[in-house]
């Protein structure tokens, strides 16, 4: 209603666009849902349709097959796809810090990276293993890798000594299963020189070329959505929880609140010198190098063709 009043004549000129986040609705994507709900996309001339992401709907696949115009995915995923010939490009890097961590109970005697040697470590598949493997190599650790599902129960029941966790998600699930933070030891890859920026906004290169200002309007609107979400966390949580309920996903406000707070730290770290949405070449090169060394890619894609500085186009 609000936006309709301000832009009464834009309705017909809005460009229809679809977007898919890489997972089901949660505060990790608060900015997009908030921008949608608050009419920010419409303000930028976009009539957006947000598709439901999740384990059954791969955002990469949707983007690749043209089922979505924009998608979020991890930088490591995108570099792999690009090196395999999928012409996708990064138009905005949202999460600058790696949220992937290793977590262990102090009661197992783990206090520093070296203590992990010989332990059972739960790891997720694919690109979730790149940083852990680099970490093990860096500290020369021999570990017994146990495939990890999306539940942390194996860790909670002591089936593994070390588990993978997203700081904004599984870590908090562990806390809210009754283990106190001081009973846990966490290893942030950022602290060990292995920062992998995560969620970024991607589009196919061809689509971008057709209408760069549309892509950049999408990025700008998304960033504005994030800023609004950070400024109005309660409202943002209401919106996220609404979408979770629609998607029939168990919605826990305390958990989503944690996730929103941590996502904020990851998107605009306090000591960060860059702007929201900018991918640093150094970060790109670090990820690409690890990917290459671990055999995920053969060649490192050219940074300049992989990434578009959208702030330039969005002004138009």
């Amino acid at each position: 209603m609000f936006n309709f009043m301000i832009f009464p004549c834009l309705g017909e000129n809005l460009k229809k666009v679809t977007f898919i986040p890489q997972w089901s609705p949660q505060a990790q994507f608060a900015g997009y849902y908030v921008a949608y709900e608050k009419g920010i996309y419409k303000k930028y001339g976009i009539d957006l349709n947000i598709l439901k992401g999740g384990p059954d709907s791969s955002s990469v696949e949707f983007l690749e097959k043209g089922k979505a115009d924009f998608a979020t995915m991890w930088l490591s995923t995108a570099i792999q796809k690009r090196s395999k010939g999928v012409k996708l490009i990064n138009i905005g890097q949202i999460i600058q810090r790696s949220a992937l961590i290793l977590v262990a109970k102090k009661s197992t005697g783990i206090h520093k990276p070296e203590d992990i040697n010989g332990k059972k470590v739960g790891l997720w598949g694919d690109e979730f293993q790149i940083q852990p493997n680099a970490f093990f190599k860096k500290y020369d650790l021999k570990v017994k890798v146990i495939p990890q599902s999306f539940s942390v129960n194996l860790f909670l029941r002591d089936g593994v000594d070390v588990a993978s966790a997203m700081w904004y998600n599984e870590y908090h699930t562990i806390i809210n299963s009754g283990i106190n933070p001081e009973e846990l030891i966490t290893f942030f890859f950022y602290d060990h020189g292995l920062n992998f920026p995560e969620d970024g906004i991607y589009a196919l290169e061809n689509n971008f070329k057709k209408d760069p200002s549309l892509s950049c309007a999408f990025v700008k609107a998304s960033i504005e959505g994030w800023q609004y979400a950070f400024a109005h966390p309660d409202e943002a949580l209401d919106i996220v929880l609404k979408y979770m309920t629609i998607a029939k996903i168990p919605a826990n406000r305390a958990h989503q609140k944690w996730m929103l707070e941590k996502t904020k730290d990851l998107i605009s770290p306090q000591d960060n010198k860059t702007f929201i949405g900018i991918l640093l070449k150094a970060d790109f090169l670090r990820v690409a190098k690890e990917l290459k060394e671990n055999g995920f890619i053969k060649e490192i894609p050219e940074f300049e063709s992989f990434c578009r500085e959208c702030s330039v186009h969005a002004e138009k």
Binding site: I146, L156, I175, N176, S177, G178, N180, N252, A254
Partner: protein, 658 residues
């Protein structure tokens, strides 16, 4: 109105007895009542809480046991299956038949699966996991390897028992395939001996619906709104009357949302398998409650039974309200009784105080309240009656006595006036005699005293003068004085010396002086032509001579004994010659022994000093001044003795008035 702290007791102090009694009795009984009430409330609360603890403990244990019994029966079946798999050989058909029969024969089991490690069942099969479940009264088969796309190995129900190498209950979950009912899975790992090594083969599972559990827990009603709830090993809410919490919240997320560290600690104890009775704020509304929690040991779940505190104490509060009402009514009744009782007392007291006022004002004929009782007030009334009668009698007697006394006093006064009247009062007494001047005064004390003075010519040139002080006071002294004076006057004849005069007077006074009275006398005879004075002093205060232009001297000389004290005393005569202008100052001990409030006497020294200051003054002024000095010295202390002064100035035979 300024009610300072001090004015409150002051206010109370001036209030009536009835008011004080009401305040005192009401306040103290209210205090006692409050103490008893509080203790009663506290004690009954303690009692109730103790009972509640027992009650809650029993309820929690019995519920946990019922759950445990059902879970154990499922465990037994599943463990038996694993045991069969470990100890028998079977082909696929036998295996499926075994699984199907097990599901069919165990109504509590919704579905059951035998899941194998890759290639463990068949070297060609990377995954084999047949699953039988009940649907619409039939037992159907599903292949989990297809549903999980050949990767059930990382499912909790498979991976956890495998990694822990022991049977486990899964966290409860909603099963969409079974109609979105809540389920839990019991998984038992099974093994095979391969060359003496115990090799992990797979996992046998049994799914149980938890719908019965939900119904069981929800059917528990405690007091009005108390309830029971169940949490899983992770603290996840499994059953709760509020459906939104189920599987969405853990006890820890509730604690986080509420910022309730205590709740988190309780939750940790619950999932650690501890039991306890704790104060608890309810999960949904945060109401103060008591909770007993205890584990369901086989699954690691925990049950909590909740007793709302306000409902527990509802009955006591109800009872207390009634007791408070009764207490207030009782105190009011008590106040009324106190008012009535004190009224009857104070009414009599007020009547008596009014009577006392009127008696005080002199009305002894008023009617006193009758003596109604034998208590203190009755005794007081009786005493008042007695006091009134006694007072009346006393006053009657007093009136008579006073009348008599007044008559005597007035007679005495007359006598005294007569007495004073016979002393020469006219000054100058001899206006035609210029050789001397004389002035005297007497200031009688309240009681009639015995001072007197006198002067008279014996012949043409000889002036006899006397100042005397009779011992004692009152009528005897006055009479003795009159007698003495009469004798002196009678005996003073021309040619007699003062010594002889007093000797004779003494002889006369001693006759029949049984009362042993005596008198001090200074007696002199002045030859008005020469200024020669013959004198004698019978125990009297020595006079002073104020010499004109010179000093003041005491007229010393033998003081002899008082007149009338002893017979046959021979008083000697002395001689002194006054020069013209010399003044003779005579007085009685009323001057020198005048007292002030510090009981100090005026003394000779002070008299001499004052006289020095009055040298050369006219004799009447000397007398007046000395009188003033004595009066101001006494400073209001009542005069106890007559004050008498007589002053004589010799002017010389050739003195002529100018």
């Amino acid at each position: 109105m300024n009610l300072s702290v001090e004015s409150v007791p002051y206010m109370l102090k001036n209030r009536g007895i009835a008011f004080k009694l009401i305040v005192l009795i009401t306040l103290s009984s209210a205090l006692v009542f409050l103490i008893i009430l509080s203790y009663n409330y506290y004690a009954s609360r303690r009692m109730i809480e103790k009972n509640v603890k027992e009650n809650a403990k029993n309820l929690a244990f019995s519920t946990a046991n019922r759950i445990e019994t059902i879970l154990r029966s499922v465990q037994k079946v599943t463990e038996n299956m694993a045991c069969y798999l470990e100890n028998s050989s079977y082909n696929k058909k036998e295996l499926l038949q075994f699984l199907k029969i097990t599901v069919e024969n165990n109504p509590e089991i919704y579905g059951s699966a035998i899941t194998f490690e890759p290639y463990a069942f068949d070297k060609k099969l990377s995954a084999f996991a047949p699953y039988f479940y009940k649907e619409n009264g039939k037992t159907r088969l599903k292949n989990l390897q297809d549903i999980f796309q050949h990767n059930y190995f990382i499912s909790d129900w498979y991976q956890i028992p495998k990694e822990l190498d022991r049977p486990v209950w899964s966290e409860p979950y909603f099963d969409e395939g079974a109609g979105n009912i809540m389920m839990a899975t019991y998984s038992v790992p099974f093994h095979k001996d391969v060359n003496g090594n115990r090799q992990f083969m797979g996992v046998v599972t049994a799914d149980v619906s938890l719908e019965w559990l939900r119904e069981m827990i929800l059917s528990i009603k405690i007091l009005k709104t108390g309830y029971a709830f169940l949490i899983s090993k992770n603290g996840t809410v499994i059953t709760h009357y509020n459906k939104e919490l189920i599987m969405n919240e853990t006890i820890f997320s509730v604690a986080e949302r509420r910022g309730d560290a205590l709740l988190r600690e309780i939750g940790r104890k619950m999932i650690r398998g501890e039991s306890g009775f704790v104060p608890f704020r309810s999960i949904v509304r945060g109401r103060p409650c008591w909770m007993y929690y205890t584990p369901v040991p086989s699954s690691g779940w925990a049950i909590g039974v909740i007793y709302p505190k306000d409902e527990l104490t509802e009955d006591i509060i109800h009872l207390n309200r009634t007791v408070i009402f009764l207490g207030i009514a009782g105190i009011l009744l008590l106040s009324v009784a106190v008012i009535l009782n004190t009224r009857s007392i104070t009414r009599q007291l007020i009547e008596m105080s009014e009577a006392a006022e009127r008696i005080g004002a002199g009305d002894l004929d008023i009617e006193l309240p009758p003596v109604k009782s034998g208590d203190e007030v009755g005794k007081l009334t009786a005493a008042f009656h007695y006091m009134k009668t006694s007072l009346k009698e006393y006053i009657r007697q007093l009136t008579e006595t006073t009348a008599a006394k007044e008559r005597i006093e007035s007679e005495l006064k007359i006598a005294s006036e007569i007495q004073m009247g016979i002393l020469p009062k006219k000054f100058p007494p001899f206006p035609d005699r210029t050789e001397f001047d004389i002035f005297a005064t007497i200031k009688p004390a309240k009681e009639i005293g015995g001072d007197f003075y006198d002067f008279f010519f014996i012949d043409q040139n000889l002036l006899c003068f006397v100042i005397a002080d009779v011992s004692g006071k009152g009528i005897p002294a006055a009479l003795f004085m009159a007698v003495t004076r009469t004798f002196i006057k009678a005996i003073a004849t021309p040619g007699i010396a003062p010594g002889e005069l007093l000797t004779k007077v003494n002889e006369e006074l001693c006759i029949g002086n049984d009362s042993n009275m005596f008198v001090t006398i200074f007696c002199g005879i002045l030859d008005t032509k020469t200024g020669e004075i013959l004198y004698t002093n019978a125990g009297h205060n020595p006079p002073l001579i104020i010499q004109k232009g010179k000093q003041i001297i005491w007229l010393e000389g033998e003081r002899n004994i008082f007149v009338g004290a002893m017979e046959q005393v021979n008083y000697k005569t002395y001689r002194i010659v006054l020069n013209p202008g010399d003044v003779l100052f005579m007085y009685t001990d009323g001057i020198t022994e005048a007292m002030n409030e510090n009981e100090e006497q005026f003394t000779n020294e002070r008299l001499e000093k004052d006289l020095i200051a009055l040298q050369d003054k006219p004799i009447q002024e000397i007398v007046d001044r000395i009188m003033e000095k004595v009066v101001s010295f006494a400073h209001g202390v009542s005069q106890s003795d007559d004050i008498t002064m007589m002053v004589m100035e010799f002017k010389g035979s050739d003195y002529k008035e100018e």
